[in-house]
């Protein structure tokens, strides 16, 4: 980011030099540049996905609104969900993993640098292919149709008979292609963490960030594979007349649901475990205390990863499974609350008695704790099968998972952005603007997603493009939409702050937070080779040991 921005700032830079810089970025195999590419690509799609959400909320601001047509509304919720999960959240967590896992374990690069480049570019091209459907896709309503079958694309809606043209195929192929990149990056992260740790860094001394990225990468390998298999089966159905999901020819529509959700549920953990990783690094540093219960945190992360593969059918309670399946998935879902609760207690115990500094990264982490707790509680409510029969596919569910993804994952991500921005750019962000971002986004988040629970409880189904007045939904939908504009303002300030500060911010130095992990021992931004001499560590907090030789860990 920095080298690029300096070049842009120099007005007399010859055109050839800009071309060279572009060439550098396209051919790079450096994990830091690829990490930044992942992150910048994801921020671009974050803005696009946010615009899609805004269009939906404007349509729903009053009953009988005609801001967009029902067809466009279907495309918006399909593309919003697909974009945010596959082309925002995943690339961002891969970007942070890519950038910081090698730095934190004292390595010079990822284990497979060229595979790393390949994985990024194929994921990026997958996103472009999906969005090409807006121009090139032809669907039920003629040319220029984006996919409109919902982000989980249930059968038989995706069958050739109900989804004409190619818009659904764009969805299938976009995810298939970007899934190749996800598998590549996950393999790369696992190999890096297991094989490239610096001398002295045993698994038990590895930063929690690296541990959690390891678990996340394992989940990606296991979760993306069934999704890819399902996409291939769907393509066979659509192109070659196979009948995997065609109930009239002996196939099964429920089979698709099982395939999709055995990917879909672990996917939530693929995204939230990196958020746990950010919080587990930021809270200790900003509380001036080592993390409470390190081994328990590792154990809880591994058991969350394990449990996440036993709960997928809680997304299918309303399908009508037998009572044994309902009980099993209800109980296994409630079990997830145990390791998650342990983590929340450990983070609070880390803060307890500490000298807490309320910097912006810490503010986002504290909000994360509270919001993730509430998200977990509504999750446990929905895990009770009869409760889910009432509220499945209502706005209560939409509010619940946005509490997880926005209130949990996105708040964790914002914390990570502010915490590591000085390392990535070499400059400090503007503190006042970052506080504006925090408060605007916090208010907007709560306006939107707290109040979104209520129309859900009152029976408003998700994915409807408009509604009758006088059902008690009107005022709640108005408040929900107003919150969106607060969030949008927060995001604009955030992006503006990052752009402005990477050019004009004051220099950060190597270690602005007085932190303890290895990335803060090298320059900001780190040189291409990361460390001139590979470090040797003796404890979980190598920089603490250097700073306090009389009192090592």
């Amino acid at each position: 980011m920095a080298s690029e921005s300096i070049a842009i700032g120099r007005l007399d830079a010859p055109a050839r030099q800009i071309g060279e810089i572009l060439h550098d970025w396209v051919t790079t195999v450096d994990h830091k540049k690829l990490g930044l590419l992942y992150i910048m690509y994801a921020i671009l799609f974050l803005v696009i996905g946010g615009i899609e959400a805004t269009i939906m909320r404007i349509q729903l601001i009053v009953p009988h609104n005609n801001f967009v047509s029902p067809q466009v509304f279907n495309e918006m919720f399909t593309m919003h969900g697909t974009t945010m999960i596959f082309f925002v959240a995943m690339p961002i967590v891969f970007g942070f993993g890519n950038y910081f896992v090698p730095l934190m374990i004292g390595a010079r690069d990822m284990a497979f640098p060229r595979l790393n480049a390949f994985s990024f570019w194929i994921s990026a091209f997958g996103g472009l292919l999906l969005y090409f459907s807006f121009v090139g896709g032809n669907g039920l309503y003629g040319a220029g149709n984006a996919p409109d079958v919902g982000w989980f694309a249930y059968a038989p809606l995706t069958a050739k008979a109900f989804s004409l043209g190619h818009s659904t195929d764009f969805w299938t192929l976009g995810l298939l292609v970007s899934g190749i990149g996800s598998i590549g990056t996950a393999t790369n992260l696992i190999a890096t963490v297991l094989c490239l740790r610096c001398p002295g860094m045993t698994l038990g001394k590895m930063p929690l960030f690296a541990w959690m990225n390891l678990v996340m990468a394992g989940l990606v390998l296991l979760a993306v594979s069934p999704l890819t298999a399902a996409q291939v089966m769907l393509s066979l159905d659509r192109y070659l007349g196979a009948h995997f999901f065609d109930t009239q020819a002996g196939g099964s529509a429920v089979l698709w649901m099982h395939f999709f959700w055995i990917f879909g549920h672990p996917e939530v953990y693929v995204l939230v475990i990196p958020a746990f990783a950010f919080v587990s690094e930021i809270i200790p540093v900003f509380s001036r205390k080592p993390i409470f219960g390190y081994p328990i945190m590792v154990g809880a992360t591994v058991s969350i990863g394990f449990l996440s593969f036993l709960v997928w059918a809680h997304h299918m309670f309303t399908v009508g499974m037998n009572s044994y399946a309902n009980s099993f998935f209800a109980i296994s879902t409630m079990l997830v609350g145990v390791p998650t609760g342990i983590k929340i207690f450990n983070w609070i115990a880390t803060m307890w008695g500490g000298k807490i500094r309320f910097g912006t990264p810490m503010l986002f982490c504290i909000a994360f704790l509270l919001q993730f707790l509430i998200a977990g509680l509504t999750g446990i409510m929905l895990s009770v099968a009869p409760f889910d029969w009432q509220l499945g596919n209502s706005y209560f569910v939409v509010a619940h998972f946005h509490y997880v993804i926005v209130g949990g994952i996105l708040f964790g991500l914002f914390g990570a952005f502010y915490y590591w921005f000085p390392k990535m750019s070499g400059r400090m962000y503007n503190d006042a603007l970052s506080k504006w971002h925090f408060w605007l986004f916090l208010i907007g988040f709560h306006l939107t997603f707290d109040f979104m629970h209520i129309p859900g409880l009152l029976g408003m189904p998700r994915r409807i493009y408009t509604y009758e007045p006088g059902r008690g939904w009107d005022v709640w939908n108005l408040i929900v939409t107003i919150g969106v504009f607060f969030q949008g303002a927060g995001i604009l300030i955030f992006v503006g702050n990052l752009l402005w500060s990477s050019l004009k911010g004051k220099f950060a130095g190597n270690d602005p937070w007085d932190a303890w992990t290895l990335e803060w021992s090298t320059a900001s931004p780190p040189p291409e080779y990361n460390f001139a001499t590979l470090p040797t560590v003796n404890s979980r907090r190598p920089l603490w040991d250097i700073k306090h030789p009389e009192d090592p860990d």
Partner: protein, 287 residues
């Protein structure tokens, strides 16, 4: 390490350059090829053919980057930018255990035997009160025992009001077993949890915990023991829960505490040997 794909090698001579994998355009070419290959399915075959050619060309170019020898660039090492330093040299400690370098909480805990003793003592106290209720209210010591057995014994549902007050060996044995196991488990939980809430053990163990599980039982009793649910006298029931909690709590806190072992790594305290587990010791092993 040299077997890994492109793990950079440190040049031992003076460290003025570091070898890093050379930049290459072949991965992006291959990625674009694979994308076009599948994009052909929604456009036309020529796109797929073009993509296939590009993907193969990308793969071949990529292989030639690493075979027979991996391509490197030597990056000059710049002056190391500053050393790691801290402005605040003073370390403050939580006033928990000043004598320990790093304290594991709780500092002291009870041995497992304390939990067992507490559970057994609570069991006796609860049984005495329950039997007293049977004698005073129903004129039979067997009445509450028969009710309790109904939790796990379907035959109990067949008991009539007349036979409920009589002695039934099967119900008696099952009730004793159930009472003993539950009491032991709760006693063990007390042994584990009371050290974590050391201020008012009797308030927590004797009052708060019984109130909470009485509330839980009040809600679910219809499912787990319908017979007891019909016949229960909540005043006596809650009183016997308090009796259990207070006695078990008192017995547990009267036991001598032992120090939590502070320095051993978790893996060793948990009783298994690993290398590179959750170590806290200062060893110099290399991975």
């Amino acid at each position: 390490m040299s077997s890994m794909d492109a793990q950079p090698v440190v040049e031992k001579s003076g460290l003025d350059t570091v070898k890093l994998p050379a930049p290459t355009a072949w991965p992006i070419a291959m990625a674009f090829g694979v994308t076009l290959l599948s994009a052909g399915l929604v456009t036309s075959e020529t796109v797929s053919i073009l993509g296939g050619i590009l993907a193969v060309a990308g793969a071949v170019g990529w292989f030639l980057d690493v075979l027979p020898h991996e391509k490197h660039v030597s990056v000059p090492v710049e002056e190391e930018a500053g050393v790691v330093a801290v402005s605040r040299r003073k370390v403050e400690r939580l006033p928990v255990a000043p004598e320990l370098a790093r304290a594991l909480l709780p500092l002291e805990t009870y041995p497992i035997s304390a939990g067992v003793k507490g559970g057994l003592a609570g069991a006796v106290a609860m049984a005495v009160l329950a039997c007293l209720y049977g004698i005073v209210n129903q004129g039979s010591i067997w009445y509450p025992i028969n009710l309790l057995a109904a939790t796990i014994y379907g035959q109990s549902m067949a008991l009539t009001p007349a036979t409920l007050t009589g002695f039934h060996l099967d119900s008696f044995l099952l009730a004793c077993l159930l009472h003993l196991i539950t009491s032991l488990l709760v006693g063990l939980m007390y042994g584990a949890m009371l050290p974590m809430f050391p201020r008012r053990p009797i308030l927590l163990g004797g009052v708060i915990a019984p109130v909470m599980w009485s509330g839980l039982i009040h809600n679910i009793l219809g499912f787990i023991n319908p017979l007891l649910d019909q016949k229960i006298d909540w005043l006596w029931f809650v009183a016997s829960q308090f009796a259990f909690g207070i006695v078990a709590g008192l017995v547990v806190v009267k036991q001598a505490r032992v120090r939590t072992r502070q320095v051993l790594p978790f893996a060793m305290r948990a009783g298994f040997e690993t290398s590179g587990g959750a170590g806290g010791t200062r060893s110099k092993e290399n991975p």
